[in-house]
């Protein structure tokens, strides 16, 4: 399913919807929640059905659509023997044009006196309300009534917005009355059709050719928007409405990586990329204000990240907005399970929002109940994607919703329960990683030096060798200076790791081992170490020694040596010296990582 929608969203054309609909129906269906839909319309809707089916599937519904006899809406609703009444559908969509529902308002509006306009509006609403009440007495079918679109070309031209009693004003009043009165009937909802049309533009929402040719006015541009809006209603009615948005931090709530760029270096503010992230925070805050809980799952040093939340002058989402926080180096799926427990909601109430495709892939594999939407690579598009997600939408908004964030914060509990994620290996396999390790040389010198100077987090010793020293190490035949490139199925991460070793007789000393934070948590460091072990053994060394020099930022690498067969020999202040016996240690290249060639 994920694949079908990823392809669809890259294309988005009417053909892509057709192909997606065909794929969903292959083999008799895909096992979604069955949903029977009756479409009652004043125009031909058949070309629209594939699009509706696909958008319903996006929200988990396997739709079966039935089209009621053309332009027979009121009769179908009130006749106990009508196919719509007898069909026992889950939902009926009432889709009418103003031309069909209330012809005088559409075709001879300027001939009408204002009291006639009032009367027509009242009569239309009363007739539909009567029919809907009758229908709801006869069936349990939920009804979604569309409002009417404003005209693309107003009758009074440029005066339309300036005078009282315009057609635009009349349609707005009609829509307001419809919304108020139909929603008062249990089991009836109102869909703001005009707003859907406005999203693609009124002039783009009707296709005249299809109207004249086949009485099918919905344009190819409008169909996906409308289908999505309807599907969000289905989701709000019968789906699992999500309660909590769990956010990553680096390159998600701000631009850059706090552990590398520092508070002053991250992008968050009023210009350029900083404005992009600030406005994304506004979008998140708006969701929060209507009752969506917020949480954080970020791989970071807690103190670094928390300082931004608390102290950065442009931060909108302060710590008290978040009902739960997991800022550490543990696998995010484990943290998601913990967040759900802490908030006492299901894992299937969570949405995971992370810029890293690897983290998203991992989350989908380990926690399929969590909704992990695909994100655009351009952060400028995050806000729109979040606004259009639809999974937080509900049919009503209560005062409890508006206070929910605080309620959860008050009762936040700290029972850290470790959820187990069995599919780590599967995740690594799925990444199709390729690691290439080569001696550093002139072509890679600048990048290696840059990494030596910039890398803070995954850096065992944080030795900032200068260019001259590095050249000396490169020229020294007893030394190995290695550069590691990492690629995976999502693309090439480039040169992201450096190791420096020095050989003397039986001993190899690990001077430097560092890796860009881009690739932390994917075990490529094991490949790098395995390469160093092989290099050392080839030279006849039997022992490798390494220092761990802790800094304010290199917590991620604190367990690296003990987890790879090193034992502590001595301590000097906060630094420690570790060793491993190369004759016995088993340090092999991970079998899920392909060895790259130069």
């Amino acid at each position: 399913m994920h694949e079908i929608f990823t392809e669809l969203d890259q294309d988005g054309s009417i053909n892509a919807y057709q192909w997606a609909a065909n794929r969903l129906s292959e083999g008799g269906g895909w096992g979604g929640r069955p949903l029977s839909i009756a479409l009652l319309s004043s125009f031909v809707v058949n070309p629209y059905l594939p699009t509706l089916t696909v958008e319903a599937a996006r929200f988990g519904f396997e739709a079966r659509c039935w089209v009621a006899p053309f332009d027979n809406v009121i009769q179908e609703l009130i006749d106990p023997s009508s196919a719509t009444v007898r069909g026992g559908y889950d939902v009926a969509l009432i889709m009418r044009t103003l031309h069909a529902a209330c012809p005088p308002l559409a075709t001879r509006f300027l001939d009408l006196a204002s009291h006639e306009v009032d009367r027509l509006i009242a009569e239309h609403v009363a007739e539909l309300v009567m029919a809907l009440r009758r229908f709801r007495e006869l069936t349990a079918t939920v009804v979604i009534v569309h409002g009417f679109a404003l005209p693309a070309h107003p009758l009074l031209g440029i005066l339309e917005g300036s005078v009282e009693g315009s057609q635009t004003e009349a349609i707005r009043r009609l829509n307001a009355a419809l919304s108020r009165d139909v929603r008062a009937i249990p089991g009836v909802q109102y869909l703001d059709y005009d707003r859907v049309c406005a999203r693609v533009g009124h002039a783009n929402s009707q296709d005249d050719k299809w109207w004249y040719m086949a009485r099918a006015p919905l344009s190819a541009r409008l169909m996906p928007e409308l289908a999505r809006e309807q599907a969000i209603f289905f989701h709000a009615l019968w789906g699992r409405v999500r309660k909590c948005l769990v956010l990553d931090l680096d390159n998600t709530l701000w631009g850059g990586v706090i552990g590398e760029d520092g508070m002053a270096g991250i992008a968050l503010g009023h210009t350029g990329l900083g404005l992009v992230f600030r406005e994304f925070q506004e979008t998140v805050l708006a969701l929060h204000r209507r009752g969506v809980l917020l949480a954080i799952a970020s791989k970071n040093n807690f103190d670094d990240a928390f300082a931004v939340l608390r102290d950065h002058p442009e931060m909108l989402l302060r710590p008290d907005r978040f009902a739960a926080m997991r800022i550490d180096w543990r696998p995010k799926p484990e943290n998601m399970v913990e967040i759900a427990r802490e908030l006492n909601i299901g894992v299937d109430s969570l949405v995971f929002w992370d810029d890293s495709p690897q983290e998203r892939l991992w989350m989908r594999a380990a926690c399929p109940e969590v909704l992990t939407p695909e994100l655009p690579t351009d952060p400028m598009l995050y806000s729109e994607r979040l606004r259009r997600l639809g999974v937080f939408d509900k049919l009503s908004l209560t005062s409890e919703d508006l206070n929910r964030g605080e309620m959860y914060r008050d009762q936040a509990r700290r029972d850290h329960l470790r959820g187990s994620v069995d599919s780590l290996e599967a995740f690594y396999h799925g990444l199709a990683m390729r690691v290439t390790i080569q001696p550093a040389e002139e072509m890679t010198f600048a990048r290696v030096l840059d990494l030596i100077h910039k890398t803070n987090q995954f850096n065992l010793t944080t030795r900032r060798h200068d260019a001259q020293t590095l050249r000396g190490l490169l020229a020294d035949p007893a030394c190995g200076v290695f550069a590691m490139r990492v690629a995976d199925k999502f693309g090439d991460n480039g040169l992201v790791g450096v190791a420096i070793v020095r050989h003397a007789g039986e001993l190899v000393e690990l001077d430097t081992l560092l890796m860009s934070c881009r690739v932390i948590g994917r075990t490529v460091e094991r490949a790098l170490l395995a390469h160093l072990v092989a290099w050392s053994r080839q030279r006849g060394a039997t022992r490798m020694e390494a220092d761990f020099i802790p800094t304010a930022k290199n917590q991620p690498v604190a367990r690296f040596l003990p987890e790879h067969g090193f034992t502590e020999m001595s301590r000097n202040g906060s630094s420690s010296r570790w060793a491993c016996d190369l004759t016995t240690v088993s340090l092999t290249w991970p079998d899920y990582i392909e060895r790259g060639m130069a």
């Binding site: 054309s13 009417i14 053909n15 057709q18 192909w19 065909n22 129906s25 031909v44 058949n46 070309p47 594939p50 005249d208 050719k209 299809w210 004249y212 040719m213 086949a214 099918a216 190819a220």
Partner: protein
């Protein structure tokens, strides 16, 4: 089978709308006379024309859209409209 320049993309659209394989569509198309019978119904026709417009980034005029009821006619029109 004909190898007109736009056949592959045209058949892909037809295949999607009609729910038949590209090969089957191509087979049916081969037997079709320019002014013969459609092998799709009127509702499928709308989706075929919509699909062709999206695939080739073109707009058919109303009368063209009504008339393009066979593969040979569509093929001839695409040869004119698509560079």
């Amino acid at each position: 089978m004909s190898h007109a320049p736009h056949d592959a993309r045209m058949f892909k659209v037809l295949s999607g709308v009609l729910g038949k394989s590209v090969e089957e569509v191509a087979r049916l198309a081969e037997r079709q006379e320019p002014h013969g019978e459609s092998f799709w119904d009127s509702l499928q026709h709308i989706n075929i024309i919509l699909g062709l417009e999206a695939e080739f980034g073109i707009r058919f005029e109303l009368l063209e859209a009504v008339d393009l009821k066979t593969v040979p006619l569509i093929r001839a029109k695409l040869a004119v409209l698509v560079r």
